[in-house]
């Protein structure tokens, strides 16, 4: 079972994972927080959510569109975006859309082939929870995410871009 790293501010920390990933062929446990596939959520999600006794998350594969979740987002605690291979970059777009377009405020979790090399990009796109499969520690994760002192383009985070920093320097100089 992979360990969960969660972001709190700029700091990554170990976190207890209350959620269980339920495979499509397995029965949903009697109780406890669960993460389901999008297909299963679309079939059984309403029943689970209306019971109100547990939290529900959805796992979205790269070929699936997060737009399918728009009306359910306020009720979802986790959206887990899958990286079947770490070279598959579709989940970065999904994360940005969740945060910037649909204003989702729950947890956006990276699952699958998740390496510390991706930490910077993931954090910038709005991921705040990670199931690394390279044995990365929170310390390594924090360091990797903060490796670059400057960024050049706006994304889901609130970091000032190079142009903002330059404008500020100019103001400071006046």
């Amino acid at each position: 079972m992979p360990k969960l790293i969660k972001l709190s501010g700029a700091e990554a920390q170990w976190a207890d994972d209350a959620f269980v990933h339920v495979a499509d062929e397995d029965a949903i446990p009697e109780a406890g927080d669960v993460i389901l596939s999008l297909t299963r959520f679309q079939a059984e999600g309403d029943t689970l959510l209306s019971s109100n006794s547990r939290r529900v998350g959805v796992r979205v594969e790269p070929a699936e569109e997060v737009e399918a979740l728009v009306y359910d987002l306020p009720r979802l605690s986790v959206v887990a975006l899958a990286f079947p291979k770490y070279r598959d970059g579709r989940a970065y777009t999904s994360a940005r859309l969740l945060r910037e377009r649909f204003r989702y405020e729950g947890e956006v979790r990276a699952v699958g082939d998740v390496l510390q090399e991706q930490a910077g990009f993931m954090v910038r796109c709005g991921f705040d929870a990670f199931e690394p499969n390279d044995g990365a520690t929170p310390e390594a994760w924090t360091k990797a995410a903060a490796r670059f002192r400057h960024v050049y383009q706006r994304a889901a985070d609130a970091r000032p871009i190079a142009a903002d920093e330059r404008a500020q320097q100019k103001e400071g100089a006046l």
Binding site: R87, G89, Y92, R96, G120, F121, H150, Y152, A155, R166
Partner: protein, 552 residues
């Protein structure tokens, strides 16, 4: 020219440290080669036939003398004393050791150079007209917009793991020296009737196995909306481009599958949802970048230089050089000087460390410290005073760099081919050298006129054979190198894909076949027609007959 500030420099330092960390992790076995590969590729490091190849980014092909000297130093210290100019205005070193790569990147970072995104499935180095800021025919300076894109695309968090590589080229002139119609995105700066600046946006051009001249999906994108629109294009591609087959993963396949109109519609739909206020660059930053390029300290000079006219009349070599390698400049009394890296017997696009130093000195002394790498694998001194042309020519001649053959038959584009490349089926360099020898007589070359020969050692088409007036593709036939000829392609403003002439030829029959093609053209030529014009008028048949009748 744009100067890196403290932000750009700290960024390069951080990048360099990150790569050093990754190499350490790889050498310690913490990363598998499979995991490391995309990371090294995004730092320009390929594993080739004999060694690692490091591709250094030359943003929009523009260098100052300090940077050129540092490249010469890298060539001397870590390579075999030379560097290779690529068709995307980058510089490659072919003999690099993995353990040296972090030190090389540090040395490059000291002069504001790097290898970020010169490979990998990300947005590559943006290329531009090598005459930018010097040619009179330009509507706006494409370097301004290339620099805007350089910053925006650098370590883009959303678009660093695309289905496949992604190349953008920009021109601000009507004459296309950047091959914008065969790029993933080609941008042509245009003014609308009301005078407002914008881009014609071409998407889904490309070469490789399935060559396309890209369709225009937007005729006039307001210039200030460039980044939000690029974001929309890249997002549609990132989500919908194919990832199941590497040969069908480029954006051209998506555009062709959907049709340009439907692709354009999807981009518009996505663009409408983007918060342009956030995505587009503010006016202040745009003005800062524009200002950096506008500060070229030209002198006010007479349009005619007596010194140059006298020297030219006295020296046939200088006169020939002036006819072929010297191009008009927007400022009176200045000229654009092309430095050919296609001397007879030379590897097209290679420059020795000593030659790089010579050109660096010339750029510093005579060209406002500005030097360009061209898509055709040559160098350009963009701002030379006419008065200085005799001195510049003499210095180039002494360094073996005064070959007067720009756009002529021996100005051949060639990929590294089987001499270096792990993907190649056949050698490209010896074929180029053969052809150059066949047409070594400069008078004959000038009589033939503009003729663009381009050679690729495999179907990946790095040598742009699809868009050559005469294209040559190396193929492997049961372990033997054969070459397929195609005619009538163009990568310029009159872009088209060449047509295959006939069965592939063995290596020793290629140069004679070119000779036959040229004779056929000269016999059929009307007036001032270029080879391409004659071909377009008379078609493939006369050429085919001539070449294969002789072969029988």
């Amino acid at each position: 020219m744009y100067q890196y500030d403290v932000i750009d420099r700290e960024f390069l330092t951080d990048r360099s440290n990150e790569f050093r960390h990754q190499v350490t992790r790889r050498l310690a076995g913490e990363l598998t080669e499979d995991q490391f590969k995309p990371l090294r590729l995004m730092n320009g490091l390929y594993l080739q036939l004999h060694a690692y190849m490091l591709r250094v980014a030359i943003p929009y092909g523009s260098l100052n003398s300090r940077q050129a000297r540092r490249l010469a130093w890298v060539a001397r210290t870590y390579d075999k004393g030379y560097g290779h100019m690529t068709t995307r205005q980058n510089v490659q070193f072919n003999w690099i050791k993995l353990k040296d790569a972090p030190d090389i990147l540090d040395a490059l970072a000291e002069v504001d150079l790097h290898a970020i995104q010169t490979s990998g499935n990300c947005i590559r180095n943006t290329t531009a007209d090598p005459y930018a800021g010097a040619t009179a025919e330009e509507i706006d300076d494409p370097r301004v917009w290339s620099e805007v894109i350089r910053q925006w695309s650098t370590l883009h968090p959303e678009f660093s793991y695309l289905p496949r590589k992604f190349k953008i080229a920009i021109t601000g002139a009507l004459t296309d020296r950047a091959a914008v119609k065969v790029h993933d995105i080609g941008l042509i700066l245009r003014r609308a009737r009301d005078g407002s600046l914008g881009f014609e946006v071409i998407v889904g051009g490309g070469q490789g196995r399935t060559p396309y001249v890209g369709p225009t999906i937007k005729h006039h994108l307001p210039a200030g909306s460039l980044l939000s629109y690029l974001e929309a294009v890249l997002r549609v591609y990132n989500r919908h481009g194919r990832r199941d087959n590497i040969y069908k993963a480029r954006i051209k396949i998506l555009v062709a599958a959907l049709g340009a109109e439907e692709f354009g519609r999807q981009v518009e739909e996505e663009w409408a949802k983007i918060d342009q206020g956030r995505a587009d660059l503010g006016d202040q930053e745009l003005a800062r970048i524009r200002g950096a390029f506008a500060q070229t300290p030209f002198e006010t000079l007479p349009a005619r230089s007596e010194a140059f006219e006298v020297a030219r009349a006295a020296s046939p070599a200088l006169a020939r050089f002036a006819r072929n390698n010297v191009k008009p400049h927007k400022k009176p009394g200045y000229a654009i000087v092309e430095v050919s890296l296609k001397a007879v017997g030379q590897t097209p696009g290679d420059a020795t460390a000593d030659q790089l130093d010579v050109v660096a000195d010339l750029a510093e002394r005579y060209s406002l410290d500005d030097l360009r790498v061209t898509h055709a694998q040559n160098l350009v001194l963009p701002h030379v005073k006419l008065d200085d042309l005799p001195a510049v020519h003499a210095a180039l001649e002494a360094a073996g760099l005064a070959t007067a053959n720009i756009d002529l038959i021996s100005d051949i584009i060639a990929c590294p081919g089987l001499d270096y490349c792990a993907l190649a089926n056949a050698r490209a360099i010896p074929i180029a050298q053969d052809i150059a020898r066949t047409f070594a007589d400069p008078d004959r070359a000038e009589t033939i006129g503009e003729l663009k020969i381009k050679i690729s050692g495999c179907i990946n088409a790095c040598g742009h054979h699809h868009v050559a007036h005469i294209g040559i593709l190396g193929v492997d036939k049961k372990g033997e190198e054969f070459y397929q000829l195609s005619l009538g392609g163009s990568g310029a403003e009159d872009a088209s894909i060449g047509k295959i002439l006939g069965p592939a030829l063995p290596a020793d029959k290629v140069a004679p076949a070119i000779d036959t093609l040229v004779d056929t053209y000269l016999a059929a030529r009307q007036g001032e027609e270029r080879f391409l014009d004659t071909y377009r008028r008379v078609g493939l048949e006369p050429f085919k007959e001539a070449v294969y009748a002789q072969a029988d």
